[in-house]
Symmetry: C2
Subunit: 260 residues, 2 copies
């Protein structure tokens, strides 16, 4: 791939998103990862293999030399961090799913670079399968964000803040909530000393079906078919109050949904 | 593959499991699908391409010639159907996840043949990726059930009724509940006219991670990191009372889980 010039990119933040983006951009063509800055010196140490690390508690004079600065911190800290970058001429971009672009309004060149994926330090990512939701007020800035996704071999979708917040909320349901349900399912398997691994084909099929024929056409099970004896048997087999509550609410939700 | 003889198999039931097993066994090597019997003549018609269909409301004299009879009906009907088969010398097997083998106690040769997978008529199945949980009281009967899974190129696991019920309960969590959550996620996308398809890589990664590093090590999101401003923003963005209730309960469940 040919890039007309190298983008000098820096990252502020030391969480999972910062870690994976720093790792990926440190190896990406067409990008020079200039520095990663953070407040926590312990966490910063894990970034030393990728680039220079800087203490965010001090002045960040080095930002002067960056073309793009990615703010990959918690939503609550974005405003405070961007405040430190008011003098910067760089394109200032946050990586949040739910924060609006307006949070960066004090920066003329601002944008959003949100990877719609779940990041854990332990797990490698396949970037070509990650959709990045990007947004910028100026066309030239949007071009730079597109080039950044290309340098990662990822795909991009230009999405405004309102739609991104909706997708982020849907992602909380899809990823966070289903992951917790899988946590409870694994606990049930462990309690009975049966292999959680046996459920993997079922889960992969669940996802494949949800995106081929639609989840609304894939619902099966005791709740959908109103099999009250099985529902009662399963409710009484559950030991933890939380599992009972989850079971009852989701069973009710499924029944309400298909009664409508 | 070599089979010492052909197993003469019949199926009672006209639901999704009966449909997929009838289709698969009608094409399987080493198995002769003798008949499918059901009470609903309309539903029975969809089985006509696979084999002879019989009216379950009448006497089933043809069962005399079967080696194995699969009862693929709702749990509540298994006992009544098996009652009709008391005179049969065949191996009588049900396909339920939660019913114990004892429900077939009146038949000397009895067993369980439970595919741990979700069946929808619209979606083709890849049998080699389906684990069948099998159970029988006699070793010879168990051998026949193993041969049946081999004729489908599927894998089998010998599991007793108690452990199978636990796996079925975990499957209700994994499949039924996550599918409903995906239904709500799709609804959120539709409400905001954003593409549900964008969530597919996230969902596939969610499942891959749950079975590689474990769901307990994969939890991320506002609930896990106790990001109250985002939680409140998302709660107020939800319009339906049911979505709010699901969001609140699952958020609370995640927070309780990681506080323990």
């Amino acid at each position: 791939m040919y890039f007309w010039c190298v983008v000098k990119l820096s990252i502020i933040g030391t969480g999972n998103v910062a870690f994976h983006l720093a790792k990926a951009f440190s190896q990406a063509q067409g990008v020079k990862l200039q520095f990663v800055a953070g407040r926590d010196s312990e966490k910063l140490r894990t970034f030393e293999g990728f680039t220079t690390t800087l203490d965010l508690n001090k002045e960040l004079e080095e930002t002067f030399y960056s073309d793009v600065i990615l703010i990959a911190v918690s939503d609550a800290s974005i405003a405070a961090v961007s405040q430190k970058l008011i003098e910067s001429k760089a394109l200032i971009v946050h990586t949040s799913g739910s924060a609006a672009i307006e949070i960066l309004d004090q920066n003329k060149h601002c944008g959003v670079f949100y990877p719609l994926q779940s990041f854990s330090k332990e797990k490698e990512l396949v970037y070509k399968e990650i959709p990045f939701l990007i947004e910028a007020k100026l066309q030239g800035d949007l071009m730079i964000l597109k080039d950044l996704t290309k340098s990662l071999s990822a795909s991009y979708f230009t999405v405004n803040s309102k739609d991104r917040a909706a997708l982020h909320l849907a992602a909380v349901f899809s990823n966070n909530f289903t992951n917790h349900i899988l946590t409870e399912a694994k606990q049930l398997c462990n309690d009975h000393k049966v292999s959680f691994e046996l459920l993997k084909p079922l889960m992969l099929e669940t996802v494949q079906k949800a995106f081929s024929i639609g989840p609304e056409n894939s619902q099966t099970g005791p709740a959908k078919r109103k099999d009250t004896p099985t529902i009662n048997k399963q409710l009484s087999a559950l030991k933890s109050a939380e599992q009972k509550e989850l079971y009852a609410l989701l069973t009710q939700a499924i029944q309400n949904h298909y009664e409508r």
